[in-house]
Symmetry: C2
Subunit: 226 residues, 2 copies
């Protein structure tokens, strides 16, 4: 059975889950906390990071694929249904550029200061960490949302006139931050409208149904008309 080693609030894991669902590929989800360095994870991905897709491709055998962006390319090439990359190489480059933007820039400037620290707080038993990085992260979050609004003033979707990998990556990252109430939606109405379109997709529903014990999301989190 196709398996994804993941964690519910990890943006890369969410991206992989949405892509699998868009392509209609069923998957068995296995929660795998990377900080415990489980042997199964290290055997499948020597970098010790999630997500890892363990696939049984139509051509036979078993293959472990990581990290998240490589899973995206793998799914694109191995399964034709619901393509997430446009047809021309210029448009593919633009969709990939924005996906990498979230994987690297948004990850280091926002996730590391907000989302990852919220998870650390939870692991440390709700002990509050110092507030300064949260403030810096919130400032960068606004800068990133501003950039998305700029793109969406010019295009129907982030990389052009069709939904692509760029939208999936961005929505995966924002959804995890939304779970910890870190997205000031009301200040960015065009981004909110775009996110609502993403949220309404059937591929998004399992993501929105995830709950962390003792840490519920804000009330608008899974509201499809927020």
């Amino acid at each position: 059975m196709r398996t994804l080693l993941h964690m519910p609030l990890d943006p890369g894991s969410r991206m992989a889950r949405i892509l699998l669902a868009e392509k209609g590929l069923p998957v068995c989800l296995v929660e795998t906390p990377p900080w415990r360095e489980p042997a199964e994870l290290l055997a499948r991905n020597p970098a010790g990071e999630i997500p890892v897709l363990i696939d049984e491709p139509p051509t036979g055998g078993e293959v472990a694929v990581a990290p998240a962006l490589v899973i995206a390319d793998y799914l694109e090439e191995a399964y034709g249904a619901a393509p997430m990359l446009p047809a021309t190489s210029a448009a593919r480059g633009e969709a990939r550029r924005i996906a990498h933007w979230f994987d690297r820039k948004f990850e280091s400037e926002v996730n590391q200061l907000i989302l990852r620290r919220r998870v650390d707080e939870r692991l440390a038993g709700a002990r509050r960490l110092e507030p300064e990085p949260y403030r810096a992260g919130a400032e960068r979050m606004r800068w990133h949302l501003d950039y998305l609004a700029w793109l969406l003033d010019r295009r129907a979707w982030l990389a052009g006139e069709r939904m692509t990998l760029a939208d999936v990556a961005a929505a995966a990252h924002l959804s995890a931050n939304d779970y910890v109430s870190a997205v000031p939606w009301s200040e960015f109405p065009t981004v909110k409208e775009w996110y609502l379109r993403m949220k309404c997709r059937p591929s998004f529903r399992p993501i929105l149904a995830d709950r962390l014990e003792g840490a519920p999301p804000p009330s608008h989190y899974d509201d499809l008309d927020f």
Copy 2:
């Protein structure tokens, strides 16, 4: 004319240059220090990072492509010559996994502690930075070289029996660190033998000819029989 916004010691820029040379695509190199935030760079890549490839594809028009791994995919798809990714999706996944390993893991664990600090030192006028991060970076460097040696005990090239994007990425990162004398080759003979094979390729020669004013490389740096 096809143009690459780059810096001589930037590993991602080196990777793009080697790929272009392997595919026989001439390119005009423009040194573009990202820390000066030049308008040309920000207009071509809103992330403000190098490398950026400004290409004039056979299909017409002009396209700006970034970051380094997206340039790799773009060149693979737009130009068929000298493919840098294997044929099967499992083998492609493995080559991409290792390329991402260098782009993210090696970058944060080694480059940020050694290479990027050496460049900072040079910009700051040879003022020596504190030694502790260098020691931590050197330790991680050995860990990474150990992993490469483990791979090369099992395979002729890093991702399998043929040279791929994985080898280009690894050699680009190691060559920049070698310029600042940060690679303990003598402790890792199999990695050294593999790197010598990479160094001997015509695509590598322009990289090895680069010189930073006032900061020469060690004597073995461009020796093809070191």
